[in-house]
Symmetry: C4
């Protein structure tokens, strides 16, 4: 385990890629296979993390901040599909995200695309300065 003084992580993370298909998802009934865009956040420190997420678009001003909490020593696999305050994430729309935290965290971006029955996956670490 990590000493509380020095958990690995950064306070700002950037994910330039984002896209959520229409919710119908090809008639998928099983929630495990429903398509989603996820930011996997790990807070391995001893203080709860308060995140502020800002979404950027191609042709309008940014949306947010979306407020999310990740408790100490916990991971949150946050689905962008579920964000709805201050506004839902528009479907079939290119977006990008910046995640700011008040304590160090690590963020990985993952997408499951199930529109064509066969699953497709992508993942990459988010970018941090």
């Amino acid at each position: 385990m990590h000493p509380s003084s020095d958990p690995p992580g950064r306070r700002t993370w950037v994910i330039p890629e984002g896209y959520i298909p229409q919710d119908d998802d090809g008639g998928e009934q099983d929630p495990r296979f429903r398509g989603h865009e996820t930011a996997c956040v790990l807070n391995c420190g001893d203080r709860d993390a308060s995140l502020a997420i800002t979404l950027y678009f191609a042709d309008r001003e940014p949306a947010g901040p979306y407020r999310v909490r990740v408790p100490a020593r916990r991971t949150l696999h946050l689905r962008f599909n579920d964000l709805d305050d201050p506004e839902p994430v528009p479907r079939e729309t290119d977006y990008a995200s910046v995640i700011e935290s008040d304590v160090p965290v690590v963020v990985q971006h993952t997408r499951l695309d199930s529109r064509r029955q066969a699953l497709a996956l992508l993942s990459t670490m988010a970018w941090s300065t």
Copy 2:
């Protein structure tokens, strides 16, 4: 939101992998599923970004620069398929790209391959010094 003095990002990004299949795309009619190679660029600062993209090949001199603009506080999911000035990106040809910006941006590389009906996805952050 970020203070305009210090938006996260870098001015030079490198994507060694690039390959665009033939345009026919297996007869795909729906543009959402058409295969593409994308550089997702986020400019979360308060100044517009002017990009200069250079393409490198296996056996000829580089092409470019391709000039692209990403406005302040906007993201551009740029499809290499659409670049055509000074010349189109050749199909079925290995290439690599270097993206230079006059202000800090963040770049993520994504490919959607739909040649076999089932989708395949890859994504990674571009590399920056």
Copy 3:
């Protein structure tokens, strides 16, 4: 080959994303196609590496450390599915992992998902400070 004094690597690696489906794996019989979550570890130095892996969850305290050894000049493609001491990795449960090594190593995260017959793959370098 690398001089033993300076093998490339880091001592702490973070993988925020983790998820293992139910073991049945859609009736897959061929072990090559069985779904798995993997941490590919390379120890290219001249001293054996002792790893301590800690798993983080959404709603309980972390598990571990899991102890794993990677000999000098060897790679280990470690399947999280196989970890069982001090406890198995729960299925269908979001988790994250931190890998700590006593010598420098490099870690890449890969998932093969075969739940829908068609394979889906993701991979990214783990994150290191």
Copy 4:
């Protein structure tokens, strides 16, 4: 274009993940869809790059160096399947690779898996100190 004095890149790159299926590839006839493990190397400087690739395994000493040249201002999408001097890369065997260059280059790892007809893709930047 980049001034020759300062091309972006690094001299050492690490890819912990590597695995080449059996060559039969499910009877695939079309070379574009044949499965492969690739290291995409970009040399955007003005001097040719001489690469030395070392392969690491789970249970034997490393193989190599494999010698590869990437000319100035060129990219090489190198298929590990094609390496055969000093020895072919064993099939169905976990391996890892370290790529050392005498000038700065950038390396991205990509795998196309076509064993199940539907394509699966993964990609990530290689790791550099």
